[in-house]
Symmetry: C2
Subunit: 149 residues, 2 copies
């Protein structure tokens, strides 16, 4: 191999990219059950924590552009999980709020992280290692966010 640095296994990005898709695949059956996608699940988690927030707050928390979030929210509104309405104090803002259907989903979703975690934690990867992994990723994310501000 002439260019060792150009090998999948020698790079950080590919494992992150592959792991992301594989973990989301693990979510799939649970989310199918609720009739939502993974990005939609993320939006709901944000709203379950803080309801009645503008589009921008959601895109900031999920580190997604508004041109990704807007269509996502429209689909969720069409499915009846959320409502979108212009802010009266600032007509530029669109406030997103949970419907009853969206709120009720929280109860159904409550068991997902538990189920997932027990599926991920194994003999090769215990809870401590998992937390260390999470912490390192968060450090990396914060560094990249700050760097490109």
């Amino acid at each position: 191999m002439e260019f060792e640095q150009l090998m999948l296994d020698n790079q950080l990005c590919f494992p992150v990219y592959a792991a992301s898709r594989l973990i989301i695949r693990e979510y799939q059956p649970y989310l199918d059950n609720l009739g939502i996608t993974y990005p939609q699940y993320l939006v709901l988690m944000v709203l379950w924590e803080t309801d009645n927030i503008p589009v921008n707050d959601i895109s900031q928390k999920l580190i997604l552009n508004t041109n990704t979030v807007t269509p996502l929210l429209k689909r969720m509104e069409a499915e009846g999980f959320i409502k979108r309405q212009r802010s009266e104090s600032d007509e530029r803002k669109v406030i997103v709020k949970l419907t009853r259907k969206g709120k009720l989903l929280q109860v159904k979703a409550a068991s997902i992280p538990e189920s997932l975690a027990s599926g991920l934690v194994s003999d090769t990867m215990n809870l401590g290692e998992m937390n260390d992994l999470k912490d390192k990723l968060c450090k990396l994310i914060n560094y990249l966010l700050q760097k490109n501000r």
Copy 2:
């Protein structure tokens, strides 16, 4: 908070998902320079390591379905980076091979990992931590692959 487990920060998946997108964003300017996307860069890395392989080998190495890889390869063929041709020994297979243009790109790409690494490694995340992060992700990936086989 009623359902602590349903918080973005308490889960592993979101950091992996967000980190994946953020790191790929870091690649963006370098890849734009070469006229390729990140998944296309992955395909090229596979081919630079082993040329003349069937579609399935590529999708296996990248952990992507063929219905993702086939259109990806078609776009790369249209751009002149690769060629696709039916195998003679097994007419089901389509063999993918680099063109001269695709091979030449390797030289141009050689400096990317170096540039990226120096951009990612920082005071908050040194090389050792980065390698540990990579190893844990690879363990997780292998576990998930094996589990769902």
